[in-house]
Symmetry: C2
Subunit: 165 residues, 2 copies
C-alpha cells in the first residue's frame, strides 16, 4: 500500500510518499512544491495542482492523506491554505485516490505519541520510524510524511474516507 501525504500551503506545499503494510513503513519520496512569492493565488493553485498530478503520475500512490483544517483560524493565510486544500482534494479525487483526513493533533499523536509535539520531534521520530538517514527538505515535507504515516496506521479504521468515482 503506497500513500501520498500532502501538507497544504499557498507558498510551500509538502508531499511525502510512504510504502506501508500498516506497521512497517518505508520512505519512497519527500519534497516540496514551492510557488512564486509574487504570483497571484490563482496561478499558485495552478502550479500546485499540476505538480500534485505529476507526483501522482510519478509515484502511483494507492491512497492519499491530508490534514483536516476545519479548526484553522480565520486568518488570510488559513483561507489561502484552504484554497490549496480544495485543489489537492480535487486532484486526488480526479486521480481516483481515496483521501483520508486527520486532525493535526492526531497526526502528531500517531507519530510522536502525544498531540503537542513540535516539528523537530515529528521529523526526528519519522527518521527513526522510517529508518531514514537523511534530513527532510523542510518541515513541510516531514509534516506531509507524517500525515501519510498517520493514514497508514489508521486507514483500516478510517470510515471517513471520501469514496471517489
Amino acid at each position: 500500500m503506497r500513500i501520498l501525504g500532502i501538507d497544504c500551503g499557498s507558498q510551500i506545499t509538502g508531499y511525502g510518499v510512504v510504502e506501508s503494510d500498516g506497521t512497517a513503513h518505508s520512505l519512497i519520496a519527500a519534497g516540496v512544491i514551492r510557488t512564486h512569492a509574487g504570483d497571484p493565488l490563482t496561478l499558485r493553485l495552478l502550479d500546485i495542482g499540476r505538480r500534485l498530478r505529476e507526483i501522482v503520475d510519478q509515484y502511483k500512490p494507492d491512497e492519499a492523506a491530508v490534514e483536516d483544517t476545519f479548526h484553522a483560524v480565520n486568518a488570510r493565510s488559513a483561507l489561502k491554505l484552504t484554497h490549496v486544500r480544495g485543489v489537492a482534494l480535487f486532484v486526488m479525487a480526479e486521480a481516483g485516490l481515496p483521501v483520508g483526513e486527520y486532525a493535526p493533533a492526531k497526526v502528531k499523536a500517531t507519530v510522536v505519541g502525544h498531540g503537542r509535539a513540535d516539528k523537530e520531534q515529528v521529523a526526528w521520530m519519522l527518521r527513526a520510524l522510517l529508518k531514514h538517514q537523511g534530513d527532510f527538505p523542510t518541515p513541510d515535507a516531514s509534516d506531509a510524511v507524517a500525515v501519510a504515516v498517520c493514514h497508514a496506521v489508521h486507514r483500516p479504521m478510517a470510515a471517513h474516507l471520501g469514496a471517489t468515482k
Copy 2:
C-alpha cells in the same frame, strides 16, 4: 467578450454566462451545479470541478469572475466554500481564463447601485439590465450572473486579474 461568473458553494454553485461590450450585456446562460447532500466534500469538489470544466467547454468564455471571500466568517460552511473556490480558480486557470475577483458589496453596488442590496433586488435589476424576461433558477444563479456583469463593467480597470499561463 464573454464572461463566466461563478458563485461558489459546497451544496449549490451558481454559474452565469454573459456577453458584454462593457456597457450592454446579454445573458447567454444561467444555472446551478448541485451536489449530493450526503456526499463527502472531496466528491463534491470533484463534481463541481468537472461540471465547471464542461461549462467552459460548452460556452467558451473569454474570462471568468468570482466573489472575493477573504472576508468570510470562520464558519464550517465558509471553509467548505473556500475549498470550492480553490477548485473553481484552478479549473479556470487550467482553461487559460483570467479570473477577476470582486468583494460582494462591489458586485451589489455595480448591479443595484448600493452595496447592501438583497438577492431579490439583484435578480430584479439583472432582469432589467439584461432584458431577461424569465426568472433565474435560484439566487445562486443570479449571484453568478451579477459577478459576471460586475466583471464586464470593471474589467478595463481590473489590475488584479490573475494572469494565467
